[in-house]
Amino acid sequence: MKNSVPKIATRADLDRVRDAARSAPDKDVREKILVCTGGGCMAAGAKAIKTALTGELKKQGLEKEVALVETGCLGPCVVGPVLVMSKERVFYQGVAPADAAEIVQEHIVKGRIIERLAWKEGPHKTPLPLQAEIPFFKRQTKIVLRNCGVIDPNSIDDYIGHDGYQAVAQALFSMTPETVIEEMKKSGLRGRGGAGFPTHLKWAMARKSPGEVKYILCNADEGDPGAFMDRSVLEGDPHAVIEGMLIGGYAIGAHQGYVYVRAEYPLAVERLQRAIEAASERGLLGENILGSGFNFALEIRKGSGAFVCGEETALMASIEGNRGEPRPRPPYPALKGLWRRPTVLNNVETFANVPFIIARGGAAYSALGTERSKGSKVFALAGAITISGLVEVPVGTPLEDLIYEIGGGIKGGRNFKAAQIGGPSGGCIPREHIAVPLDYESLNALGAIMGSGGLVVMDESACMVDVARFFMEFVQEESCGKCVPCREGTKRMLDILNKICAGDGCPEDLALLQELGGQIKAASLCGLGQTAPNPVLSTMRHFRDEYEAHIVHKRCPAGVCAALLVYSITDACTGCGACKRACPSAAIAGSAKVKHIIDPALCIRCGACFKACKFGAVLKA
């Protein structure tokens, strides 16, 4: 049986719970081990490490003195599983269950830092044990991720202890809905889902819309491949999203909210569900919240695997139980949204910013960022980058700093070729623009978009035509099929790109792609179609020579497009016969211990010989 927990019925109750939560651990506990249980570290075995540490602490009789806490994503997923010793914030990476004994013995009992598990920086792999010294963390400004890696996402008390739900209390008791919106205006916050529409404008429109019933929705259908910040916020700090929605609901006059989470994020759904249950149990969701008279209920709706449902009107159609087909705007959702009622939809990251803005003031938020793009932005670093993971920086931070100073540069010391930003709606930033400040305007000027902040870094081994083809295949498969330009047009663009990658491109194809792309952008119904050609148009703009190499010279400079590769065998060949055996088309000839030869007429360019050769004697060009 679950103990019933006392309701938090007033603002004073909330303060009491906060104070209790703040002092409680410090009384008996001298050290907290924060084990990262973000999606990345979970996949790397964080649970097993926690189990091992639990056993070890018990063995040493330290379970009362040392607390083990599961916390949200700390950021550098690639070196996971990671954990932090809370007292001095010593950071350990690549931890294995076998390390538990050493951590307890050395770090906790003897107070010695284990350098083996510390962060290694620079060419000399200098160990940097303190989180505050590590460049990856030092250059970041965490607002959205303020609690990730600090609190236990499954504990509402921990959240309250870190000033959680104080912002909503402040809004309910010291502010009117109008002053809340005014504060949002001061903050300059723009929607973090992609388009960058000013949040306060959306809220103000919905506030003014006539109607008793209004809805506030959270878009957690983070579909852009390469973006995982919303997932991490839901997994690491779900109460911040709930609090942001509460404040938004109060501001626009909504009493019902929905969070639409993608089905690919089971852990996020689980933690958010638990957070909603805890908040409801304590009275922070439901009727008469904190005795203010404000009612607000929150429900999760799970997606079912359709990228287009990240588009706001498609998301609403999906919540209504329909095929996720977007609706024409106007009427805008602020006037007629979910079930034709005034509705505000913001994404996870946007809502996670709200409690900070209300508690600390819009000015504190707008102090960060550029002239027109304020605050901080979370980016997901992935691809050919040394430290892939999640980072938060002030808007306007140069791409170069993100990649080299925070992300540790390109993996394996290779050269940067491009950064794909904004997913299927975005574009590629080439090397000559690597200094671009990451803000809405600068990125738009280069044919990319801020998008949700997925940043996939590519080195010379990436073929930009193939990348464009990849995205076109993606949007073509994810197009809902409602409007003609997107349904039929993206298929035609994909056909042309497939043709180019297969070596059958002709010079007119580029003009046709350009024209089709422009028309699809102009004529499509929703944001998906209106941005679908971007990856193609942006790569054509910045990497035209690569397209021309494919079309004119029938060559793939990066060595990716299989049909355009030519395989040959060098003098390094020992005549072992592995390639000959692997070849499915009998294109390789040669006797034992004699250099083999590939017959280009018979070669089907499958690459089996390349993979089979243990001596690096097969060349592809």
Binding site: S479, C480, V484, P485, G489
Partner: protein, 349 residues
């Protein structure tokens, strides 16, 4: 309210869309998915217009008019967008007008004609096979442009709820129930989908090969089957003296709908079994007689019987297939001439 379309000042009512306001004033905006019966969806993108103060191109079928709005319906950008739509649709299936039943009445063909597109710039797709299963509706999927009019008609106009879209993206298709052949579905063959289809995808099966729209005479008439009085147009092949097909008219009382009988049971006027002369049974056989003889014979018999057995042995039945005036005359005759109240009508029960 007053707005400007292509520099012309027009008056429109609140709640009207730009498309409605334009059409009221004879300003042409092309459409494919819009139909007054099924309403706007914003799918086909043919009705795009430019509105001053609004970003990008807007669908005129969905945007309501506003005071002082300034709209342009023709521009280079709009023509380019429309050409793209028609070009892509022509390549999306087998739109071969030469042998198509719908040629001459096809909205896609009209759009291609207006834009001067002879053949698509892309290779033509192979698509799903034709559903020939049903009695009256021939569903040639390769001519479907996924406008959704049949679906809206089936679900919102006649509320039979048989059709819907399934799958997504380029795979999107119109299905009956859970994608069964139409004959095995819950379809009642009202033909509303055929009535609404802008292309040759949904065709009256019995009309195939019976002539195209310009070869047939249009005759407006009232459906003879029941008392509702549905208004319909017969497409008549004068040479062969037969009805090729029937469509509903967009007027009261049926406003573009018909039932399965009204739409598809139209062969009886040219049936060889139809009575074309009055007949009287003589020596146990029916023989053709003149109208005078037939009427005299009937009058005599009624008079004789009523005089012998009294008026209450007489009873008259009116019919839903004759006019109100005819029915009025029947009851008047029965009451005033015969002197009985034994009057009834097929539509009473």
């Amino acid at each position: 309210m007053i707005l400007t379309i292509n520099g012309i000042t027009v008056e429109a009512q609140t709640g009207q869309t730009i498309l409605q306001a334009a059409r009221t004033h004879g300003i042409f905006i092309p459409t494919l998915c819009y139909h007054s019966q099924t309403g706007p969806t914003g799918k086909c993108r043919m009705c795009l217009v430019e509105v001053v103060g609004m970003r990008g191109l807007q669908t005129s079928c969905t945007i309501e008019v506003a005071e002082g709005m300034v709209v342009t319906t023709e521009s280079e950008a709009l023509t380019a967008a429309r050409r793209l739509v028609v070009d892509l649709l022509l390549a999306s299936g087998k739109h071969d007008c030469l042998s198509c039943e719908k040629s001459g009445a096809c909205e896609l063909q009209d759009a291609a004609y207006r834009l001067g597109i002879e053949r698509p710039s892309f290779p033509v797709e192979e698509v799903e096979p034709t559903d020939e299963s049903s009695e009256f509706v021939y569903f040639e999927r390769q001519k479907c442009i996924k406008c959704g009019r049949c679906i809206a008609g089936c679900n919102a106009v006649v509320v039979n709820e048989v059709l819907d879209f399934a799958h997504r993206g380029a795979e999107t298709k119109v299905v009956c129930d859970n994608d069964v052949p139409m004959a095995e579905s819950t379809c009642v063959q009202c033909g509303q989908c055929v009535q609404l289809c802008p292309t040759g995808a949904l065709i009256d099966k019995k009309a195939r090969g019976k002539g195209r729209v310009w070869e047939l005479d249009k005759v407006n008439t009232t459906c003879p089957y029941c008392g509702v009085g549905c208004q319909m147009t017969l497409l008549v092949d004068r040479g062969r003296n037969r009805i090729a097909r029937v469509t509903a008219r967009q007027v009261a009382p049926n406003r573009g709908t018909l039932c399965v009988k009204g739409r598809y049971a139209y062969e009886f006027p040219s049936s060889p079994n139809r009575l074309t002369h009055p007949q009287v049974r003589k020596n146990g056989r029916l023989e053709n007689v003149s109208w005078d003889e037939a009427l005299d014979y009937t009058a005599d018999r009624i008079k004789t019987i009523v005089q012998r057995d009294g008026p209450d042995v007489f009873s008259a039945f009116g019919s839903g297939r004759i006019t109100n005036e005819n029915n009025y005359a029947i009851q008047k005759f029965t009451r005033a001439v015969i002197g009985t109240n034994n009057v009834d009508h097929c539509a009473r029960t």
